[in-house]
């Protein structure tokens, strides 16, 4: 095994996603031992690093961009990672969060915080605090914000798909996935 310092670093993040793709990463099961033999995790919810500690070979991006924080984080991933991968349908096409693109943002907020049948909000106010990132007018797939290098569609992409793509990239082999591993659902 190579020494820790020489191992390529992998960062992951969930933007406007549901963490299902990260669950699918964990679903590689005991192969995660093989994975940590050849990589180190950098900024990632898996190891709970909040910031980048160095240059990363691969960044896995789950989710599209629904607010300004998502955009900022995605741009920092682009700056810090050599290869960026859209992981899952939300990063690839917006996914379930993008359903709000079909109604105006204001209507969407009113339904969620004022008019919805189960809403209890006596103050009648919409969330508006300097701590809260502002919503974008539409949820955007990652590649409409920064350049993405690879796409692994799926909701979520299967553990085998993620494993096949990651190991190919980390061993300098072409990423060629068999028909059964590319699915949009």
């Amino acid at each position: 095994m190579s020494t820790s310092a020489a191992k390529p670093r992998v960062a992951t993040v969930s933007l406007a996603g549901c963490f299902g793709c990260h669950m699918s990463v964990l679903d590689i099961d005991e192969r995660i031992f093989d994975l940590v033999d050849i990589i180190d995790f950098d900024r990632s919810p898996i190891v709970d690093f909040k910031d980048f500690t160095g240059r990363c070979a691969v960044g896995l991006v789950e989710g599209g961009c629904g607010n300004e924080e998502n955009v900022e984080v995605l741009r920092s991933f682009r700056r810090n990672c050599d290869i960026l991968i859209s992981l899952g349908d939300c990063a690839t096409m917006g996914g379930i969060p993008a359903l709000r693109n079909l109604v105006p943002t204001e209507e969407c907020l009113r339904e969620a915080y004022l008019d919805g049948p189960s809403v209890h909000n006596p103050s009648g106010r919409l969330p508006n605090d300097i701590e809260l990132p502002l919503l974008l007018d539409k949820v955007r797939p990652a590649h409409e914000v920064v350049r993405m290098d690879y796409f692994l569609p799926g909701c979520p992409p299967s553990a085998d798909t993620i494993w096949a793509a990651l190991t190919a990239l980390l061993t300098d082999k072409p990423v060629q996935l068999p028909y059964e591993l590319i699915k949009y659902d």
């Binding site: 690839t92 993008a98 079909l102 955007r140 409409e144 690879y150 909701c155 028909y179 699915k183 949009y184």
Partner: protein, 236 residues
């Protein structure tokens, strides 16, 4: 039987009969030419252009162009495959296609073509149009978010069911499927047994209460790409 003739598709010699289109002759020879608006049993429409091939160097839609003796047809060139990818990508961005919860997923021809052509993400920006859903019919759902305007339901209802339930209204980005009633699908003569219901290649026209009945892994295009049946020689 009238005289047969030969021509080539990607250098392979193929036999044709007078009256056959290029797509039909190719299919009979076990060569799949991708198509979306064409369906066996319907008159050729030539609308989606996914079946575009070159005939002696000039582009033509294989579903409408007659096969002829001695022509040189190109089907699987890099340029044509990329053009087909572009068409499918445009169809994805100009509608609202949420495969992750669509009942048609796994059996959808649009999705299957994207798989076969190897589309990971579209090169165009998503448009997120506002489209409406007509759930008025007791047995059939019409979701225009998924409609790709292939006219299969229009032609099937008119030519096979003899009903003219569906038609087009509007032009350009505003073009949409209309129903032959003052307002809603429930007011038309559509029956759940009509062939038009099965004609839809995507999830725009669906039978109600049948969603997700086939488990993931066993659906039509889960294991084998669209067109595999033709390539195995099971021609129509």
């Amino acid at each position: 039987m009238s005289e047969t003739f030969t021509f080539t598709i990607d250098g392979v010699e193929v036999e044709g009969e007078p009256g056959q289109t290029i797509l039909e002759a190719a299919q009979a020879a076990g060569i799949y030419i991708p198509r979306l608006c064409h369906k066996d049993g319907l008159e050729p429409w030539g609308g989606c252009r996914v079946c575009t091939v070159t005939v002696n160097g000039r582009s033509a839609s294989a579903c409408t162009q007659p096969a002829a003796a001695g022509i040189t047809v190109e089907n699987e060139t890099d340029e044509l495959v990329d053009m087909r990818r572009g068409i499918i990508e445009m169809l994805f961005v100009e509608g609202n296609h949420f495969c992750m919860f669509c009942e048609k997923s796994g059996n959808c021809e649009l999705q299957a073509l994207a798989y076969r052509l190897g589309i990971a993400a579209p090169r165009y920006e998503y448009l997120w149009p506002t489209r409406d859903v007509d759930a008025s019919h007791p047995d059939v759902l019409l979701d225009r978010n998924r409609c790709i305007l292939c006219a299969r339901c229009v032609r099937t209802s008119r030519d096979l069911d003899g009903k003219q339930v569906f038609g087009f209204v509007g032009r350009g980005p505003g073009k949409k499927i209309a129903v032959n009633a003052s307002a809603r699908l429930s007011e038309t003569g559509l029956d759940v047994t009509d062939e038009a219901v099965d004609a839809c290649p995507v999830g725009a026209i669906l039978r109600k209460r049948e969603g997700y009945r086939i488990p993931v892994g066993l659906r039509r295009y889960d294991g084998t790409p669209i067109g595999s049946d033709i390539e195995k020689g099971a021609s129509s």
